[in-house]
Amino acid sequence: MTSQGRWGWGTKQHASAVRLAVLGIWLMIVASTPYEQYARFPAGMSAGFGLGRLLLGHETLKSFFFSSPVLLALKWSAIVSCLLAILLPNRWRWLTPVVFVNILVLDLLTKAINGFANHAQLGPLFVLLVFAVFSDRDYLPLIRFRDAADAVPARDPPSRPPGGTAESGYASVVWLAGLMLIIPYTYIALNRLLQGGTELFLGDALLDYIAFNSRYYSAYESTVFVGWIQIPWLAAMLKGGYFVTTLFELTSVGVLFSQRFRLLWLVVIASFHFITLVSMNIFFWENLVLMAVIFGWGIWTRSPSPMEQGSLA
């Protein structure tokens, strides 16, 4: 396989990298979250949240899931299964759906106790869902990075998605993972335009959001923009940037067609995430990692990716 092929969009290497990235993100989140502490909170603090109502509908189930041994078992089984899914991608494929269910349960328990839909973790959750549903050999015949791995073991032949080639299975999975990232951005932008309209960009709403989030306690503790938003030209630039970012979010689907737009989109959206970190103490690092791997993959290669060729055909 040529280096061009290796770095092409929707290739085996690309799908493997996205899978590795999303599993790595969840491994980090699960390992760093003290789920076992949730057992110490009073029962009255938790209530089923969304899908979690099915899980915690009965008091007995609630007591079971919010007990320290169960929370610890869920946490460690998620960590171990995540690690094994990363280390043994081809041998233990059934682990990816197990990792997803395990993480979904932990996520629903977290939401049940804090009652807050954390948008930062929804992108990684849906991308993990993609790899859980399409973890079998029909879609990802071989999950590896090395060129030597192109030779398929005789004992373990790859099958093909119905009507497609092995390579198109990878492309479909990467496409769906990308879709899970761009749809939320499109929704956010559309909602801003429908709900806030031009007043949102021409008025002081953004400056008020910055003042609010800078003062609210955060581990990042950045307050530098509280003073800066008083500078008229900087405030105007922030409002302009907010509008430009919203336009890029609205047209996110363009990343699936044009390599040039993809590069521009990555620069604008990544800058937006870093600016919100400094100005509002909000950082979607999970999205940044995923967008770098999904949309930044092979961006420096010149030829159109298989996906672009197909989409434009």
């Binding site: 760093s32 603090m45 003042a211 003062r215 689907v253």
Partner: protein, 171 residues
């Protein structure tokens, strides 16, 4: 109800457009992929159209910074420990990735109790925060106070704090 249906239709059409524009060749040859995408094309706009995420999670409303009327107040959670020092409760001890979630939960509980202290549930929750803080830092929390502070713009100092709730350990 009409707003929900109208919003659903808008987001549904946008989602269908994105999917068909970018993924026709993937969907045409694969039933499983088409089934999964078909379900998402219904569920994602449905979650976006509903006003409250509590009912539909993980299919929720993506509406960050869309309102022209941002919150006018914020909460401060100040603790005093056994050294006498007063500082913000480090909520990252409870959640690595979204500590703010627990701040909002405590705010909701304080608002719901409509009191300034001695609520059983709020006291138990704060006692747990204090206990976790002791485990993490070795310091005993001797007082936990929730303040409401008006947001002021720019470099002006924050508005006057209003004490909303006080917790002290039971002896």
């Amino acid at each position: 109800m009409m707003t929900i249906i109208g919003n659903f239709l808008i987001y549904f059409l946008v989602t269908v457009g994105i999917v068909l524009l970018s993924g026709r060749r993937h969907l045409a040859r694969d039933k499983r992929l088409a089934t999964v995408v078909g379900a998402l094309v219904i569920l994602l706009p449905a979650g976006q159209a509903m006003p409250r995420s509590r009912a539909t999670y993980p299919f929720i409303r993506w509406a960050m910074y869309s309102s022209t009327a941002p919150p006018r107040t914020y909460q401060e959670y100040l603790i005093r420990d056994d050294s006498g020092r007063v500082y913000h409760y480090p909520f990252e001890h409870i959640a690595f990735s979204s500590p703010r979630a627990f701040m909002i939960r405590l705010e909701q509980l304080v608002q719901a109790c409509n009191c300034t202290g001695s609520d059983e549930l709020v006291d138990d929750v704060i006692a747990t925060f204090a206990s976790i803080h002791r485990d993490r830092t070795g310091r005993t929390v001797t007082q936990f106070q929730v303040y409401e502070v008006p947001v002021t713009t720019g470099s002006q100092p924050p508005g006057p704090r209003t004490l909303r709730y006080t917790w002290r350990p039971k002896r």
